[in-house]
Symmetry: C2
Subunit: 194 residues, 2 copies
Amino acid sequence: MGAPEVADTSVRIMIAAADAFAEHGFSATTTRDIASRAGLSPAGVYVHFSSKEVLLFELSRRGHMRARDTLVASAREAASPTDALRDIIGGFSRWHADHHQLGRIVQFEFRHLSPEHRAEVLDLRKEIDTVVADILRAGVEAGEFEVDDVRTTALALLSMAIDVARWYQPGLRRTPESIERSYGDLAVRLVRRG
Amino acid sequence: MGAPEVADTSVRIMIAAADAFAEHGFSATTTRDIASRAGLSPAGVYVHFSSKEVLLFELSRRGHMRARDTLVASAREAASPTDALRDIIGGFSRWHADHHQLGRIVQFEFRHLSPEHRAEVLDLRKEIDTVVADILRAGVEAGEFEVDDVRTTALALLSMAIDVARWYQPGLRRTPESIERSYGDLAVRLVRRG
DNA sequence: ATCATGACTAAGCGCTTGCTTAGTGTGACC
DNA sequence: GGTCACACTAAGCAAGCGCTTAGTCATGAT
């Protein structure tokens, strides 16, 4: 799974760790496994990362930031709240299929972060929530959407998309492209006026 | 968290294991932790369960069976497909709030089951998928629903409900009751005729 | 009274864990 | 040519792991 050759050792270790965490989970992954996937001795990892937990944090932080950036970018480009919602929920769902390994790590291994690192990741999550909630509010104001409770609806939409990482695997009947299309449409159905 | 006193030792061990798995995850939970939560010596657990993995399996099997039974029961009692859908998605969401510990174990620790045990749990999951898909089909036939792709929509609805176990925790603004109500309504919105 | 049964414990076996220590080889700079 | 910084390895430490073994003790049948 890991890229065969990456020049920068830190990046190579992070890819190795992502593969290992995705395969066995954080606790069941040994630092020896990560090291050997990265082509290093066990001690070589500690030149670049001070602990296994820091590696998980770095993966979580970067994963959340990339997901958030993708989301904000599609929101900005859309012509209307309806287009924006279709694009971000479709795009976010597709992201969780394309990066289902990283997605699983970020969502399921959250508890193994230290309290400080957990708080930092939580802040990133709130940013993501806010992007969706803002689009819903804009849609309601523009008369395009009808929504009972903006925050509950935003949460449900994100749940749909995030859960893709739990069940998706390559080679399935559903492709990332078809997921993007159908989940984008489902999102719009959920908020359209009655 | 564990009930203070339960007569049957097997049940006491299962409650102890559920608490420990929910708190630390399967791999990070030690058999010594389970034993001491159950008031036993480390070896005492092995009188009742032959391994830590078997304990996880028993928890997963019972969790899925209980969830499925709740779901089938509400589906049977409903007067129309619309009522049935609202009841089962609302009820299933609420179940994942009320039993968020068990829900998390069942959803997130799945990979640590042996291949045989995984297959057995997957069969139970398919039964749950089918209950939802059948209601959607009945609703389309009765002219109450409008659905592009029954299986995709069923999956998205289940995702919404299952994901509750990931984010819910007691003391939150959202109560199990309010989750049941709002998620039941969201489900109906998602499939109503345009 | 004797014995069988089954739930349980004390002790510990063999192994693996995350991480450290001490040392090696290499390339940049003066 | 010397040296200094840095990425890296071989070896291993202390602790903890899942699970087993050998034996204790209460109970109930004979």
